[in-house]
Structure formats: structure tokens, C-alpha cells
Symmetry: C2
Subunit: 384 residues, 2 copies
């Protein structure tokens, strides 16, 4: 039995439902941010992040900072690119476009390759682009939360190593870390930025990121210092190293409560091996996709290989609007999210199946949601 | 009886002890950041911030963003100053110096006026500086957490209005909001930046700020767009306005748990009128200063009018080091902070007396701390 007050089941692509233990970790009594107890917890949490992204390189660097997924873009844009340098942004939706906006805001010269709606730019297009210009970095959204499109990072890194090996490869893993396969070292990534409130299952409020040794070097050896202070990696690197080494350190006050919750969430998701957890997300995602197909509905991500396992963006039947369906779902105790894409916004809804709702099938969240969806569409006059 | 596990009393200058109700607010079940329930709470919290800083100007703008006090400096430096513009920083310690560093990082031309150790730059020096150059803004640390020095913001604004009325006046209120008198409208301030974990009594993890209508205009009418994304006021202003108007809005996911805790903290501190709460902090601070004088100890802030009511930085007796006293205090269940000032670092300790520890005298936190201090110094061989 959950200790949480009764509430509708939150199945948007983040924030997600909390495990009781994670939520209760937030209620930790107040501690000094430089006291022995918190230093130990924070240091341990940073080390756990290495396991979550599957890196054993001691020179790669985890960062956990008060903020959000968005702040991760700033870390990349402010520190790894200098004004006027070229960046290739691979976009499969709203969040790829926003990453491009952030980079542009900091003065990067952005070339954006867009996939078709519900798809990704092709490897051939990407290789062509990489061969035409010297890019400082290339970014890809591992799962674009606006479309539920999964990006093949492994193949991307292979292309980059072949065509332009000095280019850094940065993944936006906000909606993928802890639910999609991700092997930082094996694939050869240079950065993954994420947040606590999606598949990791912690409360919102943290920017969580991980950078390769060469990315950290780029940040620390800029020609022109980064015009950022809070988002300046040079200010944070020694702090993170100290905490992980068990030494108190101060640049800006971290949030002990959020770190406690993240620590619990990390331990839970690593307890049985992260591979198992990811396999469970794949299983649940396959089940969701099959179930909506039976309802006669189509995912926005049209090709199987482009479909994320974190969430499903679902096209609504002709004549049924999101503003009709979402309140009906809510009346049945299920919260989905509205569309968030410039072209197809009102035509689809988003179903997040991450974390405890996917992993703990005893909760029945997924079937509850699928049943509520079927009923709600029926009430809108739709029959599968 | 507190519902919190037994723990040493945290009396550093933030984070501070939590009220149970504030801490429990963090355990709220997961909500959509754009759902009706959270939109109402967030909007209300923004409106409550107006009351906390005593502003009734509908065109002044509250901001509550995942972050920390430090991020408030970025908001000021990234948005209100353009590269090469002059800024006058009034410093009474480490945090004034750091604000200057942040402004410099963003390209501002900083002139720093330092007070003597334990004091503030004089009004005459400030007026002289203001008359020598056209400053885009002047910043002052209301309470410098490194020294416990209080800055007279009211007189500062009067000087600026007289000598350089176009100059914006920005206060770092991280360690002053909710424990020192602060009248945003009456005094004519243009910005106050603060954080949740000091006198407000909420958990760390939020950057809380408030800007005058003319400051917001400066941010929105820059010659060159701010090279910042997460810390860009233009990205946040419409979001904050929407939430306060009860409309869901999205730029970056806020932390519902932290906002719930902040909402509870704000309601508590406004419940009996903020003036009463501030008067109580003055009373407790006076008592602490008298008590340490009886122990033969001196505050770092030497003049009465320069002494903050949030905390007391206390010089240790000759021959007694912070590394001797702090562990002895901890063994008696009291946590003070070490010194944090370039010149006098090891010679003093810091005692935070904010929030529930000051306001709720039934807890006995203050006397417990004073007794522990007396005993600890005795164990170090010091006799008053």
C-alpha cells in the first residue's frame, strides 16, 4: 500500500509517479551542505550516476546541480562551444529544436537537421552534413518527449568517429536515461544531460549530466572564458570531484532533500541491474504499442526502430481532439499529456510509461491507462 | 513533538532547521507541472512572494526557478547589464566579492567598493563613486553570510535616487529576506534575489527573485540579447505571469515538491504579519549578541548598526581555532559554520539564528547553542 494520498495516476512523459521510498527520502531533516553526512550521500550519488550511464572512466565527470533538464543544454552551450563555432543539431521534435535555440542563444552557429514528423534524420544525411563542415559538436535528442521518437546514438557515434572524429557527441537524455539502453563508454559519447523527474523517478529540480574527459577538457581550455557563472563547468568540476572524494566543498548550495531522493532512486534502479530495468521498459512499451494498435491508433513515431520505450505519442482518431480526451481520461484517474509539436500539436496525446509505472506491474498503471483511453475514446464517439 | 528523526540542531547561516509542516509539504504525490492543482499552488506562491518583499506594484515581477541563491546573480548579470557596462558592487565580504565575480564573468565592468572587515563602505564613499561614473546598476549584499554584516539598503537607494537616479539598485537578499526589514516598493529597490533555505525556511533548490517594472524592461529591451538560456529573464517572464494568472505554461519543468514546501513556508511567515516575524529575529539577534558579549566574545560586525539579525559571525578567543570548537559543538548537538572570509577565515565561526530556531522559542535552540558554545570554549581552555 502506498503512503501517498489518493491521486490520479500521472502518466505524462515526466514528472512520473513516485515510489514511496523515494518520496520519503525528501523528508530528511535539515543538514549542512558541507557536513559529513550529506557529503557522503552526495559523493555516493555522483558515483552511482557513473553506473547509471555505464561509464568506468575515472576521468569522465558527473555533475548534479540544482536546475532542470533545460539547464543541461546551458551546460553544453555555455561551456563546450565558443561563439561562432559550428554545431550540428539533430532534431526529431520540439526538444531538438529547443536545444538548437539554446545553442544559438550562446552564439553557436547551428545547422539543424530535422527528421520527418515522427522520424529522425537518416544516417546518410548525417554523414553528409558531417563531411561538409567542421563541427565542434553534434547533438541528438535520445528520446524527443514531444514525439516519442528514439534516436540511434550508437550509430551516430560510429558515423562521427568515421567522418569527423574530433566532433564531440552530446546526447539529450532527459527522457531516456534509466529507460533506454545507453552505454556511455562503449558507444563513445562525450556528454549526456538529463533530469531527475523522468525515468529516474526522482522529483524535478535537478540537472544531471555526465561528460567525457575530452569534453571536460574542452570546457576547461576555452579560448574565451564562458560567459556564464551558475552554468559554468569550471566552477562546478572541482566541487563535484571533492564531493565524490568525500571532501566538503562549496560553490553554490545544493539541495540535500533532492539529492537524498535521487540517491534512493539511483539505488533502486541499479538494485537488480540497469539492463533488467531497461528490458522491462521495452516489454511494457511493446505492450502499449500493441494495445493502441488494437484500438486502431497509430504512434507518432511511425517506424518500429524509431519508437522510444519511455513513452508513446499517439495520434487521435479523426475528429477527436486532445481537449476532448484528456479531461475524460482525468475523470477516470489517468493523466496523459497534450501534444507539443508545432505541426501536429492538437492531433495527438502523450502517454509516459516510465519508472515505477512500467517496472512495478502490480500497480496496474498501464492497463488502467489503456482501459481509460479506450473508454474515453468511446465516449468521444470513436469505436476501434 | 517533531516528526523528524533526532539530529543535531542546524544553526549555520542556511540551510536552517525545518518546520515539520514545511518538510511534509515536500512529500506531495507527483503532479503534472501544468495540471490545475500545481498551477494554482505555484501561482499563489508567486503572489505570496510579493507580500514577502512588500510590493504591491502589479508590474513588478516575481521569479521562482529551480536553482539556488547563486543563480540569482546570473539573472542579474545576464539580463540587466550588457558587456562593457559599468556596475558598482558594494561588498561587505565573500558574497559581495562573488557577486562581483559573476558580473565580471558576464562581461560587466565592475567597480568594487569594499567595506573594512566587519563593516560596509560608507555612504560618502558610495555617493562619491556614484558621481564619478554612470553605473548601469549598483549591487549590495543585504546580509553578507560570510561576515554577518547588514547593509543599509534604504539609505543606499536614497543616495542613488539623488546622485544617479537611472542606476538600478539590486540587493542580494539571500540571507536577509524574511528576517531583515525589507520594503521593496517603499525603499524603491529594483531587484532582490534570494533563496529558499535561509530565513524563509524552505529546502534548498530554488532561486527566488523579484524585480521592479523598470528592471524587467531593461531585461526585455537589451541592445544585444542575453547570452543565457536557463537564466534568461525573457524566457521566464511570460511563464511566471501565466502561472500567477492561473494558466499552465512551459519553459522548463519546475519542482512541484520544492514549490509546495515554499508555499507552506511563505504562508507560515506571513500568517502573523511579516513585521512581527522580523521583530522576533531582531529580539533573538540582540539576545545572541548580548550573550556572546557576556562570554567576552566579539562579533565580526563591529558596529551595532552593521550587525545582521540573521546570524552572528563570532571572533574566537586568541589561541582557539574553529577546528577545535566546531567538533566540540557538534558533540553537544549543535552545528555552527566555519569562517568564510579571505582575511579572517580561521579566526571566527558563524551562528545562524533564522527561521524556526529564532521564531519558535519553545524549541530552545538558541540557548542550547549558547550553552554549547560556552562549554566548548571552556573545554578549549577559555574562560570568559
Amino acid at each position: 500500500m502506498s503512503s501517498q494520498a489518493p491521486h490520479p495516476t500521472l502518466l505524462i512523459p515526466g514528472p512520473i509517479e513516485f515510489d514511496d521510498a523515494v518520496l520519503q527520502s525528501m523528508s530528511h531533516y535539515s543538514e549542512s551542505h558541507v557536513g559529513a553526512g550529506f557529503v557522503k550521500i552526495f559523493g555516493e550519488t555522483l558515483s552511482l550516476l557513473r553506473q547509471v550511464v555505464r561509464s568506468t572512466d575515472p576521468n569522465a565527470q558527473p555533475f548534479i546541480i540544482n536546475g532542470s533538464g533545460t539547464l543541461g543544454w546551458d551546460l553544453v552551450a555555455a561551456n563546450l562551444v565558443e561563439a561562432g563555432e559550428d554545431v550540428l543539431v539533430l532534431s526529431s521534435g520540439y526538444f531538438g529544436d529547443r536545444f538548437a535555440d539554446c545553442l544559438t542563444q550562446y552564439g553557436a552557429k547551428v545547422t539543424k537537421l530535422d527528421g520527418p514528423v515522427g522520424g529522425v534524420p537518416s544516417p546518410a544525411e548525417i554523414e553528409k552534413a558531417l563531411s561538409e563542415k567542421k563541427y565542434k559538436l553534434v547533438t541528438a535528442t535520445h528520446v524527443d518527449t514531444s514525439t516519442g521518437v528514439l534516436f540511434d546514438l550508437k550509430t551516430l557515434v560510429q558515423s562521427v568517429k568515421k567522418v569527423s572524429p574530433d566532433t564531440l557527441v552530446i546526447a539529450d537524455g532527459v527522457c531516456s536515461v534509466a529507460c533506454e539502453e545507453l552505454a556511455f563508454d562503449d558507444w563513445g559519447l562525450d556528454g549526456v544531460i538529463t533530469a531527475g523527474q523522468k525515468a529516474i523517478g526522482a522529483p524535478a529540480g535537478l540537472s544531471i549530466s555526465f561528460f567525457s574527459a575530452r569534453a571536460v577538457e574542452v570546457a576547461h581550455n576555452r579560448k574565451i572564458p564562458a560567459a556564464a557563472y551558475f552554468a559554468n563547468m569550471k566552477n562546478w568540476t572541482p566541487i563535484m570531484k571533492n564531493y565524490e572524494a568525500g571532501k566538503p566543498s562549496y560553490f553554490s548550495t545544493p539541495s540535500p532533500q533532492l539529492i537524498h531522493a535521487l540517491n534512493t532512486a539511483f539505488k533502486q534502479l541499479l538494485a537488480n541491474g540497469i539492463e533488467k530495468r531497461i528490458a522491462k521498459h521495452v516489454e511494457v512499451s511493446d505492450y502499449v504499442k500493441e494495445s493502441i494498435a488494437k484500438l486502431g491508433l497509430k504512434p507518432v513515431a511511425s517506424k518500429k526502430e524509431d519508437q522510444s520505450h519511455a513513452m508513446t505519442a499517439i495520434y487521435l482518431p479523426e475528429g477527436v481532439g486532445a481537449t476532448d480526451v484528456l479531461p475524460k481520461l482525468l475523470s477516470k484517474g489517468v493523466i496523459f499529456a497534450a501534444g507539443l509539436h508545432a505541426t501536429i500539436g492538437p492531433k495527438y496525446i502523450r502517454f509516459g510509461h516510465m519508472g515505477i509505472s512500467a517496472v512495478n506491474s502490480n500497480r496496474g498503471d498501464i492497463d488502467k491507462a489503456l482501459n481509460a483511453l479506450k473508454e474515453s475514446l468511446g465516449e468521444c464517439g470513436y469505436k476501434a
